[in-house]
Symmetry: C2
Subunit: 1012 residues, 2 copies
Amino acid sequence: MPHHQLAKLNDHGQRFWLDSLSRDMLDNGQLASRIREQGLSGITSNPAIFAKTMADSPAYDARIAAALNTLAEDGSAPAEAVYERLATDDVRDACDLLLPLHEASDGLDGFVSLEVSPHLAYDAVATRQQARELWDRVGRPNLFIKVPGTPQGLDAVEALLVDGIKVNITLLFGRDAYEETLQCYLRAMEQRLRDGKDLHSVASVASFFLSRIDTAVDRELRQRMGARVSAGLVAEAESLLGRTAVANAQLAYARYREVGESERWQRLAKAGARPQRLVWASTGTKDPSLSDTHYIDALILPETISTMPEATADAFNDHGRIEVPAPERFTEAATLLERLERNLAIDLDAITHQLVADGVQKFIDPYDQLLQRLAERMERFRDARAATGRASPLLGQAKRLRASVLRMTSHAGSGHATSSLSCADLITALFFHEMRWDPSAPGARDQDRFLLSKGHAAPILWAALFEAGAISTDPLTLRQHDSDLEGHPTPRNPWIPVATGSLGQGLSAVNGMALADRLDGIEARLFCLLGDGECSEGSVWEAAQFAADQGLGQVVAIVDANGLAQSGPAPYGHDTSVLAGRFRAFGWRALEIDGHDFAAILPALKATRASDSGAPGDRPTAIIARTIKGKGVSFLEGAAGWHGKALDEEQLAQALAGIAAPEVRLEMEPRRVPRAEPRRATIARNTREDAQEYSQPPLKVAYERGEEVATRAAFGTALRKLGSRFADLVVVDGDVKNSTKTELFAETYPERFVEARIAEQNMLGVALGLAASGKRPCVATFAAFLTRAFDSIRMAAHSQHPRMLICGSHAGVSIGEDGPSQMGLEDIAMFRALNGTTVLYPSDGVSAERLTEAGLEHDGMVYLRTTRGKTPVLYPSDERFEIGGSKTLVESLDDRLTLVAAGITVHTALEASARLREQGVHTRVIDAYSIKPLDVATLQRAAEETGTLLVVEDHHRDAGLGDAVAAQIGRLARVFRLGVSGDPRSGAPEQLLERHRLSGRQIEREALAIAA
Amino acid sequence: MPHHQLAKLNDHGQRFWLDSLSRDMLDNGQLASRIREQGLSGITSNPAIFAKTMADSPAYDARIAAALNTLAEDGSAPAEAVYERLATDDVRDACDLLLPLHEASDGLDGFVSLEVSPHLAYDAVATRQQARELWDRVGRPNLFIKVPGTPQGLDAVEALLVDGIKVNITLLFGRDAYEETLQCYLRAMEQRLRDGKDLHSVASVASFFLSRIDTAVDRELRQRMGARVSAGLVAEAESLLGRTAVANAQLAYARYREVGESERWQRLAKAGARPQRLVWASTGTKDPSLSDTHYIDALILPETISTMPEATADAFNDHGRIEVPAPERFTEAATLLERLERNLAIDLDAITHQLVADGVQKFIDPYDQLLQRLAERMERFRDARAATGRASPLLGQAKRLRASVLRMTSHAGSGHATSSLSCADLITALFFHEMRWDPSAPGARDQDRFLLSKGHAAPILWAALFEAGAISTDPLTLRQHDSDLEGHPTPRNPWIPVATGSLGQGLSAVNGMALADRLDGIEARLFCLLGDGECSEGSVWEAAQFAADQGLGQVVAIVDANGLAQSGPAPYGHDTSVLAGRFRAFGWRALEIDGHDFAAILPALKATRASDSGAPGDRPTAIIARTIKGKGVSFLEGAAGWHGKALDEEQLAQALAGIAAPEVRLEMEPRRVPRAEPRRATIARNTREDAQEYSQPPLKVAYERGEEVATRAAFGTALRKLGSRFADLVVVDGDVKNSTKTELFAETYPERFVEARIAEQNMLGVALGLAASGKRPCVATFAAFLTRAFDSIRMAAHSQHPRMLICGSHAGVSIGEDGPSQMGLEDIAMFRALNGTTVLYPSDGVSAERLTEAGLEHDGMVYLRTTRGKTPVLYPSDERFEIGGSKTLVESLDDRLTLVAAGITVHTALEASARLREQGVHTRVIDAYSIKPLDVATLQRAAEETGTLLVVEDHHRDAGLGDAVAAQIGRLARVFRLGVSGDPRSGAPEQLLERHRLSGRQIEREALAIAA
């Protein structure tokens, strides 16, 4: 049998009350067991206690909901009424628990105290009125109404006692106030006696406070113990620490005994009056240097009550010391208080008076906060009630989507079922509730749009589109060869703006779509669903920075934090705070929610509306949703080893039975987004002359033959001119506008110029998003740095041929001193290996401008390669350059070799040709500016006429122009290649061309060797 | 002339004092002008005021330093002594400012008050002693020592006054305490009279407090105004708000007048005693509903002083109202205080008594905080003094580096001078102070190492290495063709671990170096210098996440936040908090410092030592350093348009003159890092059998011919086996270990397996860092996702041929249903276009294992391409596969065509060959498993013998194997290519091979067409 020190207090004439009450305690049997085992004989409550228990405990959920319904049908009850309902319910239940004891003790024990509103502490009339209401509402004989012992409180107390209402007078700190309390009780009993009323049925206790007194006095004592203070004074102050409250209480108790022995009381006692016992309150120790049972141990006195917080009760029960003080202590106590005043100038009266006011405030603050908190909880209940009304069809629809996902993946035999199930509720909330969209209008931009960045969850997207009536392809054709429901979404399906499936790219595309919307005055929201594992991709943070810096408040990233990546746990499991913290650090607003709870999902989505009071303004929003991978199917939930796997027939049947999806699908109402006037920004504001000059092809170009012009500069010049012709042209830079020369466009069309900073993946993604929204993006950086974005470019190529111009500047070793890290030597290989791309490589200012024009006119992805250094203008200004063409610059009937060159090597090839001609070797020179598609016809003719081709390119020797020519022409002639091999390095451009055998002299030497 | 309402107070017999004092005020002439223009005639100070001014103001820097030196030679003076020094200095200077007024007014005006330590408020003896000390230390006649009006304080005051020390009695709230003060003054004067001392030379004032009383009383009044309180009570409470303090003060003033008229006083006055004037203190309005001059306006009474905080003084000067109260007000005041007590139970005595204790505490807290703060500042000064000792040679060295940078860039005619200057101090601190390194040991790993992620700042690195004697190459050869001092660093210079210059990659390499150190028990730190613009690269955040998740506490990222990117401002200018917040959100410790202040740089670097008390433990550290681009050259500092530009001769001369670098360079002491025992982790803990079985080449392989095995699985198997042979093998995964099958290695060698999650750029960078530290990394992901890391791979290729094996799985359309996003179709093109790479592509289990072995043995970068689906084993288990070889699988004298295939297409080619043979068409079949280098000899023979080659590959048709063969063999035979063109999509593998003309049937058809 466990040791119960508390139960022993009874043997010493003291009762143990608990200074705590909550619904949990009532429900979990704690109170009952304390009564049974620890001799608990009473309970006190106060607003601060209720504030702690009621503010957030789910134990009150049902009661708040019920109170809302019963107090006012429309749920509009004031918070105070709900508080009183909850408090009186708790107190009444506690009274009932203690009623047997109350009755068995002839009304001596088994009380529960309930306090009036702390706001009424100084209003006798209002106190009396509320005490009466609470008394009636609880309706139990073992109730104490708790009233503070202020002068007005005591006025009310006297009247209440006369009326027969039982009162616990509280907030007694000073002995003067206690004296008033005693007198008040005596007067009330005398009045009842005079009125001929029964005295035995009335009860009262006086709650005398302890630890707060020491806290206040000790603070002043410590003031006396600072640096440089005399040692004697410090010692005196130190010796009194932690002793005032007990001494003060001992003197109060002495006064209680004194009154009890008075004739005046004896007369009342004979008439049946019960003594007004002292209750020791504020018994929890605050000072860590004192024992945690300090205030209990010292005051185990007959006919008193000790009311303890739970921790103190448990501590005493475990190791409390029972030691009844000798009466001499009372003299010691008096001496101690004298020392305080005399030696240390501590005014205990002033302190205790102030403690009353502080005590009232200590209830007012939590009471007001509790009402505030209750009002919020009530609001949430009203919201939840409304949301439940909306959620219940959504719950059914989510089941239908889950069932559909399982059916289609099982039918396909593969596909990401579990990654689809985790976001089923999020997708349902988006497509069937929050998004304003029109299932009949896949191409329309005046609707909220969705992009599945975690592309492997395609099944849930197909399911949602099918169920909403947006597509008619049978979901069971998932992943089949002729279906547009691919394993990862591609724009072969009309609802897919860009291909996804290589993780971390969606948010950048959404950024581009948002920019396009902003240019066109469309106020749609753009939702992007990401996985949690996916957020390890740096491109996500490039996109996050961009969205925040550009103020794209309409962008919403939803992270499906299912805690499991492909091959193990996701980095931060279900701790959504990590990603939320990162989004916040990148300038986003971040919300963390339960991704399976519509009551959490719907408000979070609502908060992304521009019209919502919590709308993000210019800040994008990230919603980090805790979800369960495989949610909805018991044996898949959170289970490892199911990534990307489908269920077999038996498992499917079991899962579908468990889901029990409703028969009927939820109809959704098509909606569109209001479309504002397009911003001025979209209208070219170039000079009128420019517009006249350059509005029609062919572009007017003006260079002198032989003039030195860098092709990168000519590209920038052309862009600027064409800004007036193409109102949909948007230029995206990666902090190199002064190198690529897009700055020329930026100066004229700042509204259509986007600074994407040093973040090439996002830069390409933004361009793709712009293209997906009908813009004509041009993106430019060093050719070398495009390798950084190769995956983004690859996915763009899988996005059904978006119209975009990508310019890579600083191609080849001819950049010179900056060295290999800045040299584009792999760019032609990259673009050649992608489907649907065009590769153009101008050699002079005229061709650079013309090819820029051709690239922008072309309906597809075009790569334009430019050179850092200046080269002489070769062509007349009116020369035309077609995609798929070439220029034969030197030609004769005697040609024995054709030099095929592009860009910078056109110039060195011309130099070599001239040198060779001097030696009697005639070579043809072809400017193969269209590397893809190649001008096969011209090359074939050259092959036939000269027999041998030498391809010279400032690019890695493999996979570039040389390979392209060899692959196409190799069957007709011998094809030799000169390109960069060996490690490149820093040096003067001419030295490097020489070193890599691309100079005129080296070409000459190679040609002679071949010819030999 | 400006309006000065303050000056008018004099006309009404009131003096204006300022309740504020600071060094700034003294120095900037504010006090002097207030004396001149506003009639300021006194100043009060207190510990809270000094706490505000002294805690952080740089105005005290010099004085703290001086106090430290003069108080104790070793700088060990206690903070209190320094405080007293600073305070008495300020007060003395203020006294001197007011001395003329003091003298002109016959000692009536021009006082400054200095308070005793608030800790002495209840110690008469100590108060008296300290007051005497302060009095002597200031040594001015117009000083008031301020003493609180506690009983003990007044005891001291009486004695002080008798001694002739002038006293301002403060913290007077209650009229009872004021009465004591009056009596105390009377007694002191009477004593002096008795002692025959002069009375006229003594002065005293009584500071009576105002607004704090209202704050306390109004708080209680508001308690009476809560919900449900009776309307009458609320109205009464409301009517008294904000009125108590003034009423209380009026009554105190009435008492002052009363005493002044008493006989007792008249006797003293006749003997020369001066009245003890009342000072209104705490006059700043706290309640926003009251006028900001409330406490001034109401108490403009003759012979009083109003001491005001600056804001109140300025407010009154602007719009104060001068309205002298009629005497009847005093009666009103008494009534008001009665109402408080009677109607509202507010105990003003209790409140005022408590306010004294609170007031003392309100000085103790800031006083103690100030001493704490001063102790910290003193510590910083001691640190700084120590650092200055260290810094002064560093300052000179930094100048030398700056001069060197300018000389070399000007000589080169290009290079990033300004980006080098911004980090010159950081680099100097690292290389000449903090890093333990040995200039004679470029290859050694047992030293702290440095990586310049912002590679364009190469000049500063070369300068530092040269100055430290680590390199001997003349810095003036910067960027020259034959120098290893390249424009951006490459490992051609022995101090460079990996090439940098493509931004955002350094941190990942450092991560890999740190992992290698951890495996080998080397406790070096790894410093990585980044630019601020660079931090827009997502790869930085991939690396940041990795470092934190792996607990790489030895990694230190230093961000040179110079606020300027290449083409405009960096994203967050000099606001270092943004990047610091991001690093913190990614799990790092982040420090923000001034990157040009050695006193800030050195402690920040010191805090990264494992032995430092603030050491980061397992958390990496980011130091975000605010710097100025171009720092050190006046016309370059923060100027736009200088990125990457060099100075001309004249500018250089001007800059060098400004820098004035010292002649002599700073010698640095070579140091090494202690090297611990290697962790067990590095020792293969495979089974003994494995070690015996697989320790020697050739690798034992065991498959049956015809057995179905996926090459990716065979790769994983081989890795696991080879783990025992290569103790330096470390495998890095991107969350696809169950797909690439590196999980087989992970299970056996978890310590050498690194989960780099879905972040391919960092994954490659980590592998490069491992290679740079002598490990043999193998990294694997889907071939498609290697495109994500192309720039990282490219930079690795520029890093002088690191030894690493890169495996790309899921190659080609044959992956099937997952669709194009997951298909590697560009990987061969990528690796072919890089210098020094090897490309291997096994077709069955045997070749996959053998090529894995060959790849790991090879000293360079090897790409291994594997296939998702299972393929039949073609080769006997003991078949050998050399890099540069091929296998001729079908061959006859009748061959009219050679099918060149690799990987999956070897199988479809064999199928086609068999079909063709049935039709009498003999074809040779070559497995070209070594795509780079190609087995040219075998292909040439086939070309010669069969005349036509048909290359078949599951890769994009361009830039892959077909191109390679065409380029090499095209001159000898006709080369046709079959590869993937057109948009790939989801579907069954067989369907997709068929669709893209790679199936046996399609090859057969193409072969027949060619043959025809």
